[in-house]
Subunit: 208 residues, 4 copies
Amino acid sequence: MGLQERRLREKEQRREQILDAGRELILKHGIYDVSVQQIAKLAELSVGTIYLYFDSKEEIFATLQEGILEVLYDEAEKAVAEVTDPSDKIRAIAEVYKRFSEENKKYFDVINYFISPLDVFFPKLLKTQVDQHGNRILSILVEVINEGIVSGLFEKVVPKRCSIIIWATLHGLIQFRKMRDTVLKEENFDELYRYSVDTFIEGLMKKG
Amino acid sequence: MGLQERRLREKEQRREQILDAGRELILKHGIYDVSVQQIAKLAELSVGTIYLYFDSKEEIFATLQEGILEVLYDEAEKAVAEVTDPSDKIRAIAEVYKRFSEENKKYFDVINYFISPLDVFFPKLLKTQVDQHGNRILSILVEVINEGIVSGLFEKVVPKRCSIIIWATLHGLIQFRKMRDTVLKEENFDELYRYSVDTFIEGLMKKG
Amino acid sequence: MGLQERRLREKEQRREQILDAGRELILKHGIYDVSVQQIAKLAELSVGTIYLYFDSKEEIFATLQEGILEVLYDEAEKAVAEVTDPSDKIRAIAEVYKRFSEENKKYFDVINYFISPLDVFFPKLLKTQVDQHGNRILSILVEVINEGIVSGLFEKVVPKRCSIIIWATLHGLIQFRKMRDTVLKEENFDELYRYSVDTFIEGLMKKG
Amino acid sequence: MGLQERRLREKEQRREQILDAGRELILKHGIYDVSVQQIAKLAELSVGTIYLYFDSKEEIFATLQEGILEVLYDEAEKAVAEVTDPSDKIRAIAEVYKRFSEENKKYFDVINYFISPLDVFFPKLLKTQVDQHGNRILSILVEVINEGIVSGLFEKVVPKRCSIIIWATLHGLIQFRKMRDTVLKEENFDELYRYSVDTFIEGLMKKG
DNA sequence: GATGAATGAGCCTTCATTCAT
DNA sequence: CATGAATGAAGGCTCATTCAT
């Protein structure tokens, strides 16, 4: 048992080594400029070993993304816990999402990498895995909105539907941020972003 | 005279040949798996000839995207012209955007290709060109919202700001559509999309 | 006649245009980075026309080199005419050669280009043409040394032989100049060069 | 243990395979017409493998040149050891250089390849490496001249300076050898070369 | 399990030369 | 004579993946 256990632990360790290296390299060079050879080198493992733990380079990236979403999820949860008003909770989540996209610009590209030309790129399974993690993040929003409804603060909307919409808006805006020098030239992005969230919340608020 | 004219026409024809091939290949394999050699082969031209008409592969893609956005712009304008109510105009634009993204699934990826890791990828000029086309589409929305305000139908919002937000929402939703089998499993995307637009319009409407 | 004459003149003009462009481009980019297309563009001629006046790119370069050697020859002659003492004349020639190699670094590479892997590169004819021009430069040296002998200043050496040797020395030194940062690190090249010439002259001087 | 050793040997073998192929191709086509693909084919290795052993094509050539200079160095040392008189030693070195240039005509071009438009062509490091080998050869000459001075045979010249000059002369002459059918038409090159060396030695000899 | 050498198709781009007009 | 569009082989180099050890 002790032996088997150690084996397992070591195996997990190797995976972590690989993922760490992948993360670091993505952060340094961007996802499109990371090769398996580079990962192997940084992880102080042989190329062949990489393929013992992952079936393909894509799988490494996908796993990495899970982790990234995990962090995002955790931060969102923490942020939500710090305030009590449902409106503020939404604001907090939005803030976390934006800050995350700024601080982890390169990581965020990983998310995009998997969302974008997804249909072509990935085996079904991989895609599903990744999406499941997205679900968790969504669920935080859902819960918050639900809370708002229950407490009589928000209108009786369909929580999931609204959550998806707000999330899509935020994601879309963050994506558009890349056009800040052209299309968004005269806009203050932070203001725009905040305004968008506030408007949305206002729409949720009970009228009258 | 006739000769020079014919020359020009032929030249334009070649460009079109190349673009057609590029389009077809993107449709078939996705933008990340299209090479200049493939384009040349399909266009029944030599590789060298490609570079007689375009300075780089990226330029081909950028030109392609301009065309796509052009079409999108035209369709949006047409759709807007067909209805009179500003709210309906917004709905029409949203519809065009969605329908376009469905009918041209792979083309839509071209747009994303240029939005995504843009900072790193493309020469400034190319990016600017592409974004300028994005601007035109935005301007339709701006005008419509403006119209709504002037006619006393909408609240006195900032048109550009709102346009960006609605566009970002639509774009984000369409992107999320790729998760229809997982995150959006129980959702009817079309309904969700429509609901999102309606909610937005409602937010714009003059209260009281 | 007038017509034929004009034709000839125009023809010569075109050649000159091409050579001018070639020269300018070599000076700007170095001989290894000049393409026929570039020459055509700068000469405001079509690529095809280039091949009407020259059989190949090499031929352009060879012709150019003739011209370069011509200039070198002229400068050497002028320098020689300005002093009377044969020793000084040799010094003057050496100076011209060095200065020329510095001021026309890129041109000088043209000379090297044709001297270096010559056997492989060029059709016999081209090589001969180029070499003939080399001969003229040599002849200046020969004459000077001869003069020195006749005037009783120099020993009765074989003029041509000595000329070749001094020329080879100068050429070799100039070539080695490229190693100024490594092999010649602690050497002052100008001094070294001058010393070499002086030593050689001293060897020529009548003893006793 | 035996395994690791064998691995190392095999690795060295591969490098040698590549260098052998490179050498052979340079000999056959001249250095300017050797491509990595050709080397790979002749070495019966894949292109990728070439890059496993060398970082670039230039590095292959540089390594080749190091080897060539090594051989030259060894032969020069051997030749020097066989005679005792410093004058004869210089003659011996000159002879080695000439013979080498004849027997390895194409190899010699490799040397020129690295001397010639070096400034532009090569990464600093490569150049430095190559030049360092040049230094070793120079040092043999320096030592011999020094010996001559110490033994009272030669004048008190600056050894390094003189060594550079003689080397430059020899190198220049060998280069001019390529014009043997034109500029040097009536000259017996071997005689000329020998004469040049003798004259130089004479200049070194103590007068009176 | 782990290794890492080997693969080789593929990438984008250049350019001397030709030839139909 | 002059044009310039067209060619297409060739260039150096990368990299995901495999497989014998």
